[in-house]
Symmetry: C2
């Protein structure tokens, strides 16, 4: 059946879109890359990514690459899409691959992974090399990232949206244990990809049995201290069963 097909041997990589929320801004983890161009060193940013070993599972490769490049360990990640456009390697990317890997790579299929975490201390410890940084997603998407990483970040956001529509609990993995109404609204605005009216949102939020108001308020803030809420996973599961 396949006898007439030429064999295709491809280089393969994984790229990790690690999202994190701080205050009310969504960040993505990027790595600074330097390339020589016309005798000058220029910089741009890329997602943490790397080639897959031939004896390695895809999921293991994603975890290994993320840990090697950023120090982030045991981060649960979700594979969301493979990217194999034949124009995903620019002249600059090609040069960078050759400098970094000492090999000519013209075609590279990459498997995208997305992770949602909290921006924590752990990462900052490994931040020392100044190659790894958190960047607001909006700003990242305005830049020309390496390879087709703009597309990969956008597709990762879509994957999170789809996932959150089917199972809103996903969103709460991005939030700290105690969060404000503002933080939750920002997340919903991101998922629905539009501005949400503040008062309507508050009303809706009150109706969510699994978002529980606490008797705690923000400390040491210049504006009026906001109330904290928590996500009640047990009530959430009950509320989901009700929809069956």
């Amino acid at each position: 059946m396949n006898t007439k097909l030429g064999l295709s041997v491809n280089h393969m990589s994984v790229d990790c879109v690690v999202l994190g929320l701080s205050d009310s801004t969504l960040y993505v983890l990027l790595i600074k890359r330097s390339v020589e161009e016309n005798g000058e060193t220029v910089y741009d940013y890329k997602l943490p990514g790397g080639l897959i070993y031939t004896d390695e599972d895809l999921d293991s490769a994603a975890s290994r690459v993320l840990q090697e490049l950023t120090g982030v360990r045991n981060q649960s990640m979700m594979q969301f899409k493979a990217f194999g456009s034949r124009d995903r390697i620019s002249q600059r990317d090609y040069k960078w691959l050759r400098e970094t890997l000492n090999e000519d790579i013209h075609s590279l299929v990459t498997i995208g992974y997305v992770a949602m975490g909290r921006i924590g201390r752990k990462l900052n410890l490994h931040n020392a090399g100044n190659e790894v940084c958190w960047m607001p997603v909006n700003e990242a998407l305005k830049m020309n990232l390496a390879f087709d990483h703009n597309v990969i970040v956008e597709e990762a956001l879509k994957a999170v949206r789809r996932h959150a529509e089917a199972d809103p609990a996903v969103l709460f993995t991005l939030l700290p244990a105690k969060f404000t109404a503002l933080q939750l609204r920002m997340l919903y605005e991101f998922v629905e990809n539009k501005e949400i009216d503040v008062r309507n949102f508050k009303k809706k939020m009150m109706q969510l049995a699994y978002v529980e108001p606490l008797d705690e308020y923000e400390q040491g803030v210049a504006h009026r201290a906001a109330r904290y809420y928590r996500f009640d996973r047990i009530k959430y599961k009950k509320s989901r069963r009700g929809t069956d």
Copy 2:
């Protein structure tokens, strides 16, 4: 950053899970494969799949492979997952790859695509070679399919479920233009992966503004002729806007 990584060169393929509904059974498109084992020819089944050319986009490869192997043209497909477990090639698969492609392949990452269509005349025309067949999904999953194709079919079903939860319109692409309540219920049972009470389902169905009862009934059936319904895409879109 990546300098210490050995280069990984992989063979890459696409595999297509084409689902089709006939009466109230969900089918998957499979290809019969023959392998010599201990001097005897044995048969099993595989998904339509094949290697990707190095100068080809992933989506184009999926369309090309499906058309070459089954004659199905212009079928819209959705990429759903990459499969790269290192144990996905059995001894039999390895032998079959060597016989078919005249090459030793020990590692093969495949990108899964899923399509939902109606079992139509078009396909049957190309069915002549008796290598391509529709098989009920339940039966297919009871067999030992080639490679990790059991896993791929299961993951494709999960992808359709997730997709249909977020956007039920997906289900109606599997149904004929006129369908019965039984057909719709069977689809929902598949999506929710459980039996649904007939009377409750009828009630729920009546509440869906976008499922419109027709004044037409089944013809020439032994049992009581069932009413036909149609999917109203415009009403569907309106009902979705309401949920924002």
